[in-house]
């Protein structure tokens, strides 16, 4: 629909990441200059959108905070609307180094898989989070592996590349909060198993993680239940009128 330079779109969801988004976008310009970028501003109350626009990037403003799932899904819809074949999801907080994007895109472009997810743990990489958080991630990865029939080492990774079939599906159906593990199960059930490639990630540059503290237990219970239910879910229904 719109003229653009690339067939690959990088989707950067960002909520109140004014401090980090500038360097994320600068890095993208340096390491992935061939790809188009869209920032999904998920109801930020700070200068996130202004910083991204000042850097010359496209910004889609959500009228209010939708949560990571709703924001990323808006990015998928944007990609389909504008005819992109491949989309990369990449956090706006600086955790995901732009120079690793090619590792994710290559297998999707080669048609080897519809979804390629960056894993911090595939090469025994160590990530300095709290012990509890590491155990939580491990549990989710184990459950995702069991339910998807593929070895998953980093179920919560939000650093992923998607091919056209996966985009089409996820634009119609994407879980609302903490969607990454559930997406693995849903996609594998639709014949799109997730492939992992090793990536290095950095600790967050600014802002706070959306997961942590006393809510973690509730989060784990909720995600585990969603994962089990995801195996029972029907295909995407038509949009409600």
């Amino acid at each position: 629909m719109m003229a653009h330079r690339s067939d690959t779109l990088i989707i950067v969801p960002a909520c109140n990441e004014a401090e980090a988004i500038g360097s994320v976008l600068a890095e993208l310009r340096e390491h992935a200059p061939r790809y188009d970028v869209v920032v999904i501003n998920d109801g930020s109350t700070d200068e996130t959108a202004a910083v991204a626009r000042a850097a010359g990037h496209k910004v889609v403003d959500m009228p209010f905070n939708l949560g990571i799932g709703g924001a990323v899904q808006a990015g998928f819809k944007y990609a389909i609307e504008r005819g992109y074949a491949i989309a990369v999801q990449m956090d706006g907080d600086g955790q995901h180094p732009a120079d690793q994007i090619e590792r994710l895109v290559a297998p999707v472009r080669a048609g080897e898989c519809q979804v390629c997810s960056g894993s911090r743990f595939l090469n025994g990489e160590h990530y300095d989070g709290s012990a509890a958080r590491r155990q939580g991630t491990r549990l989710l990865s184990w459950l995702c592996s069991a339910l998807s029939g593929r070895r998953i080492t980093d179920a919560t990774s939000g650093f992923r590349a998607f091919g056209p079939r996966a985009l089409e599906y996820l634009a119609s159906y994407y879980p609302a909060d903490y969607p990454e593990p559930e997406a693995i199960v849903l996609l594998s059930r639709r014949g799109m198993p997730v492939r992992e490639v090793p990536v290095e990630m950095r600790p967050r540059q600014a802002g706070r993680s959306s997961i942590g503290g006393a809510r973690s237990v509730y989060y784990m219970a909720k995600v585990c239940l969603s994962l089990l239910l995801a195996t029972l879910k029907e295909g995407p229904r038509r949009q409600a009128a």
């Binding site: 719109m2 869209v38 999904i40 496209k58 910004v59 889609v60 403003d61 959500m62 009228p63 209010f64 939708l66 709703g70 899904q73 808006a74 819809k77 944007y78 609307e81 609302a176 949009q239 409600a240």
Partner: protein, 121 residues
């Protein structure tokens, strides 16, 4: 008629009038008014014919007859709550889709050069 029966009928009447009041003011949809009117009617029936409850209790071999009322009331309330959970899920889905659509439309306006998307052009 026992005083409690009269009291329950008055309360049911009050509920029915309240429902009609809010429908008249366009603040309650007919769809939901039916639920509440049915509830009011459901309250009047055992109040007006207490023997009915006794009879059902005997037929079903229930020792404490009023427990039938508690059970029915709880079942109805639970079903209504579930109905609302369905409605909330549907509304939040539609809400999310509308928000995404608004964002995408504004982005298109921005591209078309009609301002930053906040303009009315």
């Amino acid at each position: 008629m026992r005083p409690i029966s009269i009291f329950v009928i008055v309360v049911a009447l009050f509920i029915a009038l309240t429902v009609v009041f809010f429908v008249r003011r366009w603040r309650l949809k007919e769809q939901y008014s039916i639920l509440w009117l049915a509830l009011a009617v459901g309250m009047v029936v055992p109040a007006a014919w207490p023997d009915l409850v006794e009879w059902i209790a005997e037929e079903l071999d229930v020792i404490y007859a009023p427990s039938i009322l508690f059970f029915l009331a709880l079942a109805v309330v639970a079903m209504m709550l579930f109905h609302y959970s369905l409605e909330i899920s549907r509304l939040s889905d539609q809400n999310r889709e509308l928000a995404q659509e608004v964002g995408l439309l504004r982005a298109r306006m921005e591209d078309a050069g009609t301002g930053d998307g906040t303009a009315d052009g």
